[in-house]
Symmetry: C2
């Protein structure tokens, strides 16, 4: 291989200072700001945990089943705001990964009761501190107090 230039330095032009756009009309819109923020967090999530086959949706299933064992999947879907048809593949994959069990409720044979396997619990407990750290790192422009305030306001925004 030839001795190439170090990558950081611009090879040719210095990109003649493109004048920045005026973003102010969108900065008052909570919808736009939410989209930007979520894109950042999700990109970072996929970058850090996508290799391990973990997505935000799957992690949210782990978290809720860890705190709520033996819940039927329709009630999990409603808590996560995921439509029942979209839960099917999600849970089937996680079951195939050995993270949870779907067992028929003996008292109501229509319902599937969900619970984490030992592997699912272990994965949840391993991931949680890493994910919390990642989220705080994404919010590094905020002080801890501001971050806590943001969490509180976002929680207040959505219906209980």
């Amino acid at each position: 291989m030839t001795t190439t230039l170090p990558e950081a330095t611009p090879r040719r032009r210095a990109t003649p200072a493109p004048p920045p756009l005026n973003l102010s009309p969108l900065m008052g819109h909570v919808g736009f700001l939410l989209r930007l923020a979520q894109q950042q967090v999700f990109d970072e999530f996929h970058r850090g945990f996508g290799q391990a086959g973990i997505t935000p949706a799957r992690y949210s299933v782990l978290a809720l089943l860890h705190a709520n064992p033996d819940v039927p999947q329709a009630r999990l879907a409603e808590a996560l705001r995921i439509k029942p048809p979209n839960m099917v593949a999600l849970l089937a994959e996680m079951e195939a990964q050995g993270l949870l069990d779907r067992r028929v409720d003996a008292a109501n044979r229509r319902a599937n009761l969900l619970r984490l396997t030992a592997a699912g619990r272990a994965l949840y407990e391993k991931l949680t501190p890493e994910i919390l750290a990642m989220e705080q790192q994404v919010a590094h422009r905020l002080t801890p107090t501001q971050y806590a305030t943001l969490i509180k306001l976002l929680a207040k925004l959505s219906p209980p």
Copy 2:
């Protein structure tokens, strides 16, 4: 048609009080809260403005071109965090709607300079107060001060 029952009253069972799930493990995760909040705002956006063929992405184009006429589309894409390939159909549809013009930059014939038509400007000016009102209505659980704080913190979260 037969004289059916009024819809509001439950026909048969009173839904025997399903015990609520414990959501607390997710309430500390900014990623989950952002997803819930964005889903609310976007659902309301589509409910209120979808009929008119207006999506959040299209409105954001209107807003930025209103404040930044004659901007090349690559720089618009980068400001909105939309990849250039995904801008093509978006702008083509808006051009077909008569909301904007794409004209070749005489000084750089690779670039398309974008600007709103009179109809695009009029639509932007008509929509903006309605959308701001809708967003504040979605956030009705927050005081005006809390809403302003939320906007400020979200803006701080994303890179300038």
